[in-house]
Amino acid sequence: MSDRTFEALMSEHHAEIYRYILRVTGRRHDADDLSQETFLRAFRAHRTLPPDANSRAWLFAIATNLTRNHFRSQKRRRVAYQAVVTETRETDEERPDGVTLSQEIGTAVEHVVAKLPLKQRLAFLQRKVHGLEYDAIGQSLQCSAETARAHVFQALRKVRRVLEGRELIGKEFAS
């Protein structure tokens, strides 16, 4: 892939990768850092990417991998310092610009998704928000397409269970 193609790749997918990481981590700071790191890594490697490769899925795989490492090292730090870690997801009050997270990307579904275990959250967002194929999701999580699908379905079940009985479900679609 040429440098010009890389520019195009960045124009096309940067915002999407940023949003993906923002949804996974819930923190703007992480989305900023990790999306930049995703593209810097991609730049180092893009010249060796085969011309027929699915570059969008490739970017998602890099972002997914970095995000998982990020959570892993965060966990290690917590263990190492025995720190009392409070929930650090951005709450609406913490937002400096006055825009609430729920106004921005939040819906009832997203609030539940934010609480899913990491792998399920990654698989779910890739599939249901970004529309990636299970093969690609499996590759990004180093598992099979079937396992990736199982993660997504498991996530869906949890979301449905949590939202069961709320206004959201039942009226509009109940037959």
Binding site: R19, L22, D32, Q36, F39, R47, G131, G170, S175
Partner: protein, 324 residues
């Protein structure tokens, strides 16, 4: 807890798939038939559909998250920095042994003889700060083809753009720039080069600067020899490669003192500042120090750089027996 019927458990995965539009026709039909007669699964099914609908809403409004633009700006700045540091390299098996060829956006940064090892870890690149070495994906292929053509004598000039970032000092850069002007098929001495640089006593410093020439061949340090005509050294090693390169360029060599020397007696010579080339026997050059002359392997090579035959010794009428 309410126990679910076996049929409901069995169809559950298909039911999720059908609700989110991922089921095949067979599963769709089975689910439709099941929910028609099972109230709790019908509720479940519509629950999944409602979630799927909401996800559609999320997808639709996925534009314009604040912060993206600023993040993109920071990314562009970091990419510019990375681009300027990235050097793509590859090791080739050349007739001169394994060579590592590396290029940046600006040009060739390094041509390095790996002295028998193919390991890029042994390269200078691994020890340079501020460079990010990445494996080549074809950028150096064309450069290497030209290098091969040069070694085979099919071309006399490498058209490589050069990036002299590995030149450690302004002095080394000056030495390299002066060396770059020595024509194909000609040799000069380290002493002459030092004199051309206006530092006639800096002979050893010139030799050191050439020892660390980051782009040998492209900057032809093989055309620089000892004041006595001995090859003396090349790229920090023995002179085998230097011999090969000079022979390709038609410079005659003779064995001398465990080394080789340029056969000056069989070459045309040029005095500093002159535009006529002479026979070694020319009376007009008798008083000049041999270490300060430029020697050419053939008349063609001398005339290729615009020199004319000396009007007193007439090399055009009494040519030397040339090697090739």
């Amino acid at each position: 807890m309410k126990r679910r019927a076996a049929g409901c458990i069995e169809i559950e995965t298909d039911l999720v798939a059908a609700a989110i539009g991922e089921a095949d026709a067979g599963a769709e039909n089975r689910v439709a038939a099941h929910v028609a007669k099972c109230e709790s699964c019908r509720v479940e099914h519509s629950g999944y559909r409602a979630i799927d609908h909401q996800l559609g809403v999320i997808r639709e409004k996925a534009v314009d998250v604040p912060g993206v633009a600023r993040s993109r700006e920071r990314l562009e700045a970091r990419l510019d920095d990375l681009r300027s540091r990235i050097v793509a390299y590859r090791v080739f098996d050349s007739p001169l042994g394994p060579v590592l060829l590396a290029r940046s956006e600006q040009g060739v940064v390094l041509l390095e003889y790996l002295h028998g090892r193919r390991d890029p870890g042994a390269s200078r690149l691994a020890r340079v700060h501020g460079i990010e070495a990445v494996e080549d994906a074809g950028e150096t292929e064309g450069l290497y083809r030209e290098f091969r053509a040069y070694l085979d004598g099919r071309t006399q000039h490498l058209s490589w753009p050069l990036d002299l970032r590995l030149a450690a000092s302004p002095f080394q850069r000056k030495v390299l720039e002066t060396t770059a002007r020595i024509p194909y098929g000609a040799v000069v001495s380290y002493k002459r080069l030092a004199s051309d640089l206006g530092q006639p006593r800096a002979v050893r410093a010139v030799a050191q600067a050439l020892r660390w020439n980051p782009v040998p061949v492209a900057i032809p340090c093989h055309r620089v020899v000892g004041a006595s005509g001995l090859l003396t050294g090349y790229a920090g090693g023995e002179t085998g490669r230097k011999r090969q390169l000079l022979t390709t360029e038609g410079v005659p060599l003779v064995p001398a003192h465990d080394d080789f020397a340029v056969a000056r007696g069989a070459m045309y010579l040029l005095a500093p500042g002159d535009s006529e080339y002479c026979l070694p026997s020319c009376a007009s050059t008798e008083t000049l120090q041999s270490g300060l002359l430029t020697y050419f392997g053939s008349r063609n090579r001398a005339e290729a750089v615009g020199l004319t035959p000396c009007t007193s010794c007439r090399p055009d009428l009494h040519p030397l027996h040339e090697v090739n």
